[in-house]
């Protein structure tokens, strides 16, 4: 990365002068986004029918019991008072405590992240690397049987619903050929990784398809450009063509796609965690919603929002570093 920046002295100059301002502006905007998200989540949670007191006291609870629970957790306080308290806690880094499990929100999220983060990384890294390789291969072998096979496979992969993919993969590698566990999160370490293989493959199949398609289309565009044709005519090596002409020029699209994939993974995780009965963040969130566990819902959704904002910031930053043209446009365009 530093080599690419150093390669373009003008870009480095722009980064040196403008970057702190740019980052500061993005940070302020990101904080505003998170503030709006927190208000929206707070409003939706409190407007939804039912309340945590019903989940806490159970379906046979009396009105007096329900009232006692609401009073205990200050659920009848004015909404603005509750929101102000919530925001005040957030400023001090306190995400609250689950009303049902009595665990601090960050402790619950940390536990679930022990499943979700390895799963995300496994599926993301493999699918980005494999998808890029397949996409470039298909583009280089344009019109051949290899290209057609890759296009057909990605079409199937991209159009198969996640749960259906999960069922097929589970049956094949968990039941028919029992190579990996089909349910549960495992007990940590190698056992955890073993339990995550099939879920990661399920998400990976879908993501590989998307990354492959982007890589193939981007590579085809680059391959038709004059500088590639010229390089070929000069008899430059395949390695040079691949790394200096193709990969370098499709990298911005690939980075953007990889960032988008990381964000999309969050929704995919919820489905996959259900199909494989994993105790990840998706499951934690759906259970919290089902119980109207207000602090847990607010904490998880805010952390997810922060994650998305962060991924977008990093993606934008990397793209700017990779492409000097965008950097100039970005700096000019953003003042």
């Amino acid at each position: 990365m530093s080599a690419l920046i150093a390669h373009n002295g003008v870009g480095r100059l722009h980064l040196g002068l403008r970057t702190p301002l740019l980052i500061a502006r993005r940070l302020v905007l990101s904080l505003l986004v998170l503030l709006v998200v927190s208000i929206a989540i707070f409003a939706f949670v409190h407007l939804a029918p039912g309340g945590p007191e019903q989940a806490i006291a159970g379906e046979f609870a009396s009105p007096a019991q329900l009232a006692a629970v609401r009073a205990h957790y200050h659920l009848d306080d004015p909404l603005w008072t509750q929101y102000a308290g919530y925001l005040g806690d957030l400023v001090h880094g306190r995400f609250g405590t689950s009303l049902l499990s009595h665990e601090p929100v960050l402790v619950a999220v940390r536990g679930a992240a022990g499943v979700t983060v390895p799963l995300m990384l496994m599926s993301w890294i493999v699918s980005v690397l494999l998808g890029t390789a397949l996409g470039i291969l298909a583009a280089v072998k344009r019109g051949t049987a290899i290209d057609r096979a890759v296009v057909a496979a990605t079409t199937v992969g991209a159009s198969t619903p996640l749960f259906a993919m999960g069922v097929v993969i589970t049956w094949l590698f968990g039941i028919r050929f029992p190579l990996f566990p089909v349910v549960g999160s495992g007990d940590g370490g190698l056992d955890r990784l073993t339990h995550l293989v099939l879920p990661a493959c399920t998400i990976g199949c879908l993501m590989v398809a998307s990354v492959t398609r982007v890589a193939r289309v981007s590579s085809l565009q680059v391959l038709d450009e004059d500088h590639v044709v010229f390089a070929r005519s000069r008899g430059l090596s395949r390695k040079y063509l691949l790394f200096q002409e193709i990969l370098r020029n499709v990298s911005t699209q690939l980075v953007t796609e990889a960032g988008a994939m990381l964000v999309l993974l969050i929704s995919g995780q919820i489905v996959v965690e259900a199909v494989f009965n994993l105790d990840g963040i998706g499951t934690l969130l759906t259970d919290a919603i089902a119980n109207r566990d207000i602090p847990l819902i607010q904490g998880i959704t805010l952390l997810i929002a922060a994650f998305i904002v962060l991924v977008n910031m990093i993606t934008d930053g990397v793209v700017l570093m990779l492409d000097p043209r965008l950097r100039k446009l970005g700096v000019k365009g953003r003042g």
Partner: protein, 539 residues
């Protein structure tokens, strides 16, 4: 230099590839190794699926089948037996000096897992967690009749009631006994994954994931017979595909309360035994008699007679249920009321049979002679609700009642149907008894004190208020010594209420349990979760 470097890199690559392949093969083999199916004698651990778990390892945070994990670690005073009786557990005896007092004698020499001795104060403390109007316990409804609990003497606990409660012993059998000292020490953290809980049971808590999993290890110092297994795992698997995969792969040895929609699929799996038992629960439509237009008896009768109940049992429930003439399954009522049950049930069965012409005639007499459109809520956590509602909608349409089925999430459903009664007057639910007592469902569903209009909890979903029925229900609870009279009162209450059509009983579902070969799955009833089920499984 180059010539020496290139082969080295190639070797390294091969070494890396070899390592990865070896690691994958090793993990795959390790995974395969965990899914074997040992013989009954060799089995040292059992993995079990149950339908629900609490969010805390605390008796206040779980009720019904969700208690099935807790009661293995936190033992009750009395232990429910598969034949429906109660046997001594942490209490060696129970006496009832009068209809308002119970005296439990606590077993001597029982130790908690930390070595401290079980005292009557621990027992009184454990029961008091569920008593009082402000209790946050999910089991508080079981103890509304209790006025006080106190430890008396070295080994006795007295429970004083404010009114007679024949179901008290069954209620006590649902409550795990905990260590007061442990609660005092850990406060609000009791029951969390980092603190767990302290009991006396044959299996100790070894791990907990809220509402998902409890891990147990055998308690070598258990006061009773040596536990049959070294490890137990109790999991909740909510997704249908995951549940089936878990059973098929051998990851789980037992599944209690299989969803009816999955029974046929599980039945096809090799090496699994399937057993069924009648549930003490009822699918029923509730017609809120306090709201317009359902306060019209003719409309309610028309609704009842326009529902093809046999068709629902055969189709929507795939025959895995029994037609319900009233709220209580006949075998349960037989135990309570004896021989008079048969005649009374035959009479109730004649009540409102599926008859479209008669339904049309009743509708013509109602305030809505041309029919109406109404909505019924269903929730995906019980897919049978949607199937029943859609089947009923087809036959109701024949008389001009358009039933729109709307699927919502659990909190929305429970809020509208049970807690706030904000439906359009029609609701559909599966109401399960909280105790194996024939009066349990009628008291919740018909007693006016349980209606919202009388300030109750709302389990009387139809807000049905009939003083005559109230009197009969109370009479059925006061005649503990005269079972025939109590049974007659309960049957009469059901018969009287049926005439008013506050509900339309549809079916009593069966409960299906599955287990791997060598485990003893036969013999459980609907209250398997109150039984010492690991020992029952071991045979």
């Amino acid at each position: 230099m180059v010539e020496t470097v290139v082969p080295t890199l190639a070797h390294r690559r091969r070494a890396v590839v070899t390592s990865v392949v070896t690691a994958l093969a090793a993990t795959a083999l390790a995974a395969c190794g965990t899914s074997g199916s040992p013989s009954a004698a060799d089995r040292t651990e059992v993995s079990v699926m149950i339908p629900a778990l609490g969010d805390l390892l605390d008796p206040r945070a779980a009720a019904g089948p969700a208690d099935g994990g807790l009661l293995i670690g936190l033992e009750p005073l009395l232990r429910y037996q598969p034949d429906g009786s109660l046997a001594p557990d942490l209490a060696t005896a129970v006496k009832q000096p009068d209809e308002l007092d119970y005296v439990f004698t606590i077993r001597h020499g029982v130790k908690f897992w930390d070595g401290s001795t079980l005292t009557p104060e621990d027992v009184a403390y454990s029961l008091s967690l569920h008593i009082g109007k402000n209790s946050q316990s999910q089991n508080a409804a079981l103890f509304t009749s209790v006025a006080s609990v106190k430890a008396t003497g070295d080994d006795q606990v007295e429970v004083h009631l404010s009114r007679p409660d024949p179901q008290l012993e069954y209620s006590v059998a649902q409550i795990g006994i905990v260590s007061q000292a442990f609660y005092d020490k850990h406060g609000k953290s009791v029951g969390t994954p980092s603190v767990l809980n302290m009991g006396t049971g044959p299996y100790k808590f070894a791990g907990f994931t809220p509402s998902k999993e409890i891990k147990f290890v055998a308690n070598p110092a258990y006061w009773g017979p040596k536990p049959s297994y070294q490890k137990l795992t109790v999991d909740v698997v909510s997704d249908d595909a995951a549940r089936l995969n878990g059973l098929q792969s051998g990851a789980y040895d037992v599944a209690f309360n299989l969803p009816l929609s999955q029974v046929a699929s599980v039945a096809r799996l090799k090496n699994l035994q399937l057993a069924n038992t009648p549930d003490v629960s009822v699918y029923k439509f509730n017609l809120n008699v306090g709201t317009t237009p359902w306060n019209d008896i003719h409309l309610r009768r028309a609704f009842a007679m326009a529902i093809d109940r046999p068709g629902i049992v055969a189709g929507a429930l795939s025959g895995n249920a029994v037609l319900a003439p009233t709220l209580v399954p006949e075998p349960v009522m037989q135990k309570f009321a004896g021989a008079q049950t048969t005649t009374a049930y035959q009479q109730m069965e004649k009540g409102y049979p599926y008859d479209i012409q008669a339904a049309k005639a009743e509708l013509a007499k109602s305030s809505r002679p041309n029919g109406l459109t109404t909505q019924v809520l269903v929730t995906s956590s019980d897919p049978n609700l949607a199937l029943i509602a859609q089947t009923a909608a087809q036959s109701l349409a024949k008389i001009g009642i358009k039933l729109e089925v709307k699927q919502v999430d659990d909190p929305t459903y429970y809020n509208a149907v049970y807690f706030k009664h904000t439906t359009q007057g029609v609701s559909l639910d599966l109401f399960s008894a909280a105790a194996p007592d024939a009066a349990n469902i009628p008291i919740y569903s018909l007693l006016s004190a349980n209606s919202l209009v009388k300030g109750g909890g709302g389990q009387n979903i139809s807000d049905y208020v009939n003083p005559a029925v109230d009197t009969l229900l109370e009479k059925s609870q006061r005649n503990a010594s005269d079972k025939a009279a109590a049974g007659a009162a309960l049957l009469s209450a059901l018969g009287t209420a049926q005439q008013d059509v506050p509900y339309v009983p549809i079916a009593f579902p069966k409960i299906y349990d599955a287990a791997a070969a060598g485990l003893h799955i036969e013999g459980f009833d609907a209250f398997w979760w109150m039984v010492d089920w690991p020992e029952h499984l071991a045979g």
